[in-house]
Symmetry: C2
């Protein structure tokens, strides 16, 4: 079935006109884009399609940048830890850093902008007790305390754009000049960005959509002395720091930041760190400024009659799509890379834009498109995980990236994407703007709340890390589930309580991280608000080390409600009697076996009231309990899988005491799901797997029928007001 | 070979004269003891043997105790955590406790001696805001803060001796009266104890050795409402607390203890808790008092011409054999239960007594001595682990306990013990008083130091706990190894530095426990002392979470020296390049595979300098490194086994930079060891396994010979001054 045309963006490249036409036709594409390293020919630009052109704001203009090296972007860095062996300690502070990327800032006085810290005591070393040697990039401390460790926090100029640096090194671009990033906060750069954009818009009349990649400040990506990644934080605000920014911050917020407010013991305020007041202020300051400046560029684009689209990545720092200032930018669209359901929702849920677009995988690059490999598999997996989320909230467009010529060599792939684009349009046309059925509302509770909507537990965008996958599974599971999801912060709860319509709160993460909450759990208001909310009927799910902070006889501060705590060694003398799992439980009804990912050690049940659902290796990994009128569930970890999605869903409906609602629009087979759209009387029954599945499907009234679904199938059903399925037409 | 007679104690019982004689002869016993539940007949007491008689000081005299219930022993207990739902909260503080054991103390004013604590804030509730109802054992708080959690710390009388209670319940003793423990600190009890002892000594002329079981205060053992163990701490000082003790403490130390100083959030200052100043003061206060009072009893025993022996267990609290006051007690001997090498050394190393005795396993009880079971296996295992330690420092005597009549029914067992007793005497006669060869000196560093010599990481004496076995293995390995072992505390290091003769320091334990050290690792003096000591050539081995305390950019405060740290989530953004184990290393030369027990998650190498020895599951579990002139080793966990003993020995010799010394008196086969006694020119080659073993044995000069050893064999070798083995005569 061909669903016509539209909502699809095709990458193209030089000398590829006819094939581009053919694929446009087959995939129904109505937009064409360039990609990193590809430029579009004029004849392609004349095709019946919107033309997206990638636009770099703060790099790619070395003619300008080289003349204004003092307007280069900056970073605060921390040296390695150095042990004093006597009273004099010389620190080679650039040791381990990539000199092609980073150059110490000697323009501004180190005594004003740098900090030497005694890391044994945490005290700042008096500026009279250290000096800088600019010849060999060293700091020498006099009056050091022997055997203390010291670090230097220092400002550098970032003289190479990290994305271009990565591509340059990875692809061995040899003599290609290094893109120098310049800073919108500086007068010449600020003017240049606008002037050049105006000029560029005139020179690119065929461009319909300016695809900003992105605005001003790149996420933190620092290389080491061997030219390899040393530090990467997709949320890092490092590159937005500069002397000018620090001065402006002081003016705006009324106090001065210390280098340590940015350097943060070398952790650089990653999103795993519980944000300090100073860092939150700094983020706010940057967001406001970025929105203002980005707005000016967007206005210029709009004045030229074109659309402004932002790529969610690269120089996106400060744009914060879920932040307070994002709406001020006035963008038409956001496009981002879709790694699965959670990243799709991260894009699709962005407010204040006319449309969103997901760039699907695989990227048309030789690492996937090589002889002997079947790129259909990756595409199919990507589509199945994204489709779950699309069925909850569709992006408005999908697209691809890379070398179209590569994809073209794989006819099965071309044909598979043809079916995907059709399926996408059918879904979109059916459910766009229609609210999907939700059985309950869940709030993810952490230090960040709304700002990190669908962005929790991430380091570098969508990469696998040992310490995160057992938590990221929660988001991935939720992204395509029949529940509403909101993200709330501890401060939200402290200031405003738990939102009225929330059924279940999830607190998930390793102890001490921003996601678990660390010292927040000694906040009396937070603890009592959540505790009373549960007691009065709320549902609470803790994953990993929820509410963890050793204080007054508990490690989990909501241990009494959760019915479990973690043994740190202090309560070994107290007998742990409760080790026997219950025979049967709503939560585990579909579980054959369990995969808690990294799991959690030494969790034990506090009393006979705790319903132990899984106990092995002398530990509880899954438990539920009641607290007053409310219910709680503990899960040791939840990597993404169909099994764990089902486990989480059952946990949510159990915690919310809506077990019967769980069986509304229910699939007995965990590889299948039912997405329901009451307003249009339609339901989509999906097979999320690449094998044929048979399942009982329960309609909204408790009636069931057996359905056999082809691999990856989506089947639309019409149902009557009484919830009866009609036959499929 | 029969080594004659002596150094062996036999339990006996009623109506068992002839068999006792026979076993005395076969085992060469020169002492006979009674056991719990057995009494000796007069004719047995006339045998040619010393007679040990168990003597209870503070229980077993209900005629007296019932008349002086106000002199009953006391305990501080903490109620469960109770959540306030409104401003009034009624707490059933005895909930979960065993009313046959514990009775609230209403004699002394609760408003003076009890404490109600808001566990959400840690604040003490004003005494005006709560009241006690003695009828139903409840405390009612008025002006409670809704949704805060509250506990009551309250004094009880302990009306049933815990050991008798345990035996009573376990063996279903029915109407047998409950032994009431009375308190030496009370005037009548104090007098009664002395008077009764004097009288008893007169009435028991055949007793040669008064076996105190033990003195005044039982280790903490509290039962729950179902009559089962609820809290057990072999080191717990709970039962030494009383109103009288609190008052005396104030007089002696100049300040008053709070109930919380004892209750400790419900953790009751177990030895896993980093001891507070107040608790250390309290321990000191109790030790001094116990030593004074015990001395009086010992003096009475001595005046009667008998010996005073103390059982290391039961009412041993305050005796602290490695404490400052122990020598003042003036005991002749200590006897304790031998669970393996570490517990043997715990007994054998006790100073200030004329002799020590180990009570070996199995105990002659029906749980081992039943038809179809072979008690030789347990005895053999017990003997092999203990023998390693005996070869380092022998106890002066060995013995057994329980029902001799049971053992008598197992002729193979009788015959095996015959060989054990002979072997023990041969070892003792050969090496007693002879210093064994040590290749190096190791210091175990924790919060307790010398006081907990061979007593670290224990909960209930010698029981297996999931959270301790990975650390106890260190002690067990060391107990029979050719190294000197000392136990030093953080305060020792802070005040006096590292002792001159120490080659290697071991810091082992879970983060935050007294054994790892918690906040001690922010102590500037401690950190710099150890750091400089390593840098100048010291060896440091960290096991589990050594030096762990999140502070200024490190979790392991000696991370820079150790070359590893633990990822808590804060440094995920920093690339971890170092994941490749070295090809070959001195430490792992005998390792086929690894068993780190509970292991440790998320350990990573800090730099290319770290020698990774084992890397799996994306984590480092074994690594070594150098720091200045010194060396460090990290081990994730070390449960006891022959493999891990070898791993630890190699780690020690590597850290000490004495690799060549490791091969002195070396066995190539890990199941065999060589114990050397230079002063007498003898060596014992032992097979620690129950299978035949072949091994190369290296003498002190690097020469080797192949040796085949029978299962469990010990073979004595004579060697010349040049270190040549002579033939065995
Ligand atoms: Mg459903
Ligand atoms: Mg006699
Ligand atoms: Mg040796």
């Amino acid at each position: 079935m061909r669903n016509g045309r539209g909502r699809v963006t095709l990458p193209s490249q030089k000398d590829f006109l006819n094939e581009t036409k053919e694929l446009m036709e087959r995939w129904g594409a109505d937009a064409i884009r360039d990609s990193d390293g590809t430029k579009l020919d004029d004849d392609i630009k004349q095709l019946d399609a919107k033309i997206y052109t990638t636009y770099f704001v703060a790099r790619g203009h070395n003619d300008f940048a080289e003349k204004h090296m003092e307007e280069c972007q900056q970073l605060y860095l921390m040296s390695q830890f150095n042990t004093a062996h006597n009273e004099e300690l010389k620190i080679d502070f650039m040791k381990g850093y990539f000199e092609e990327q980073l150059k110490p800032d000697y323009v501004h006085d180190p005594k004003v902008y740098w900090e030497v810290i005694d890391r044994t005591t945490g005290k700042v070393v008096d500026i009279d007790n250290w000096s800088v040697n600019k010849q060999d990039n060293s700091v020498t401390i006099t009056n050091a305390i022997p055997w203390h460790e010291y670090t230097v926090s220092f400002l550098v100029y970032a003289i190479w754009d990290p994305t271009q640096m990565y591509n340059h090194i990875t692809n061995d671009w040899g003599d290609t000049p290094h893109d120098i990033p310049f800073d919108v906060r500086q007068p010449n750069s600020n003017k240049y960005m606008k002037d050049y954009l105006s000029q560029w818009l005139k020179e690119n009349p065929d461009t319909d959509v300016v695809r900003f990649t992105t605005f001003f400040y790149h996420f933190t990506l620092v290389f080491n002395n061997l030219g390899k990644e040393k530090f990467v934080d997709w949320f890092g605000y490092g590159a937005s720091v500069s002397v000018a920014a620090l001065d402006a911050f002081e003016k705006e917020k009324g106090y001065r930041l210390r280098p340590e407010d940015i350097v943060d013991q070398g952790y650089y305020n990653t999103s795993f760190r519980i944000p300090t007041k100073a860092f939150l202020d700094y983020m706010d300051f940057v967001q406001k400024f970025v929105a203002e400046e980005a707005r000016k560029l967007v206005d210029i684009v709009h004045e030229s009659g074109k659309e402004a689209m932002m790529f969610l990545g690269d120089n996106w720092i400060g744009t914060e799509p879920y932040g307070e200032y994002f709406k001020n930018i006035g963008l038409d669209a956001v496009v981002g890379s879709v790694g699965g359901g959670a990243t799709l929702r991260m894009i699709a849920d962005i407010p204040h834009v006319r449309y969103t677009e997901g760039r699907f995988l695989p990227y048309f690059f030789p690492d996937t498109f090589y002889e002997g490999n079947n790129p259909v598999i990756e595409a199919n997996e990507n589509w199945l995980t994204a489709r779950r989320a699309i069925l909850r909230n569709p992006v408005d467009r999908i697209g691809y990236g890379g070398y179209l010529s590569l994809a073209y060599k794989f006819p099965d792939f071309v044909s598979y994407i043809e079916s995907v684009t059709d399926e996408f349009r059918e879904i979109y046309d059916t459910i766009h703007g229609v609210e999907p059925y939700s059985g309950l509302k869940v709030a993810i509770l952490n230090s960040w709340g709304k700002l990190r909507t669908w962005q929790t537990h991430m380091v570098a965008h969508a990469l696998w890390y040992k310490q995160i996958y057992s938590y990221l599974g929660i988001l991935e599971s939720l992204s395509g589930a029949d529940v509403d999801v909101v993200f709330i912060s501890f401060d939200d709860v402290i200031n405003n309580g738990v939102p009225d319509d929330v059924d279940v709160i999830i607190n998930a993460g390793d102890a001490g991280t921003a996601f678990s909450g660390g010292h927040y759990w000694t906040n009396e208001k937070l603890v009592t608000t959540i505790r009373s909310w549960i007691y009065n009927g709320g549902g609470f799910i803790g994953v990993g080390e929820p509410t963890a902070y050793q204080h007054e006889g508990h490690y989990f501060q909501l241990a009494t409600a959760l019915g479990v705590d973690k043994e740190l060694g202090f309560s070994l003398s107290t007998d742990k009697y409760f080790v026997t799992p219950v025979n049967e439980h709503f939560i585990t009804k579909d579980s054959q076996s369990f995969d808690f990912g990294e799991g959690m050690k030494n969790i034990y049940a506090l009393s006979e009231k705790t319903e132990i659902l899984e106990y092995s290796d002398g530990e509880v990994h899954l438990a539920s309990g009641s607290f007053g009128q409310g219910r709680t569930v503990y899960i040791a970890g939840l990597p993404y899988s169909e099994e764990n999605t089902r486990l989480l869903m059952r946990s949510l409906y159990y915690a919310a005491q809506k077990e019967e609602a769980f069986y509304r629009w229910h699939s007995s087979n965990i590889y299948c799901e039912v997405h329901v759209y009451p307003a249009i009387g339609k339901a989509a029954i999906v097979n999320n797997s690449m094998e044929e599945q048979t399942t009982m499907i329960y309609n909204g009234q408790g009636k069931a029928k057996e359905v056999k679904l082809a691999p990856s199938e989506i089947r639309w059903e019409v149902f009557s007001d009484e919830g009866e399925f009609a036959d499929r037409d």
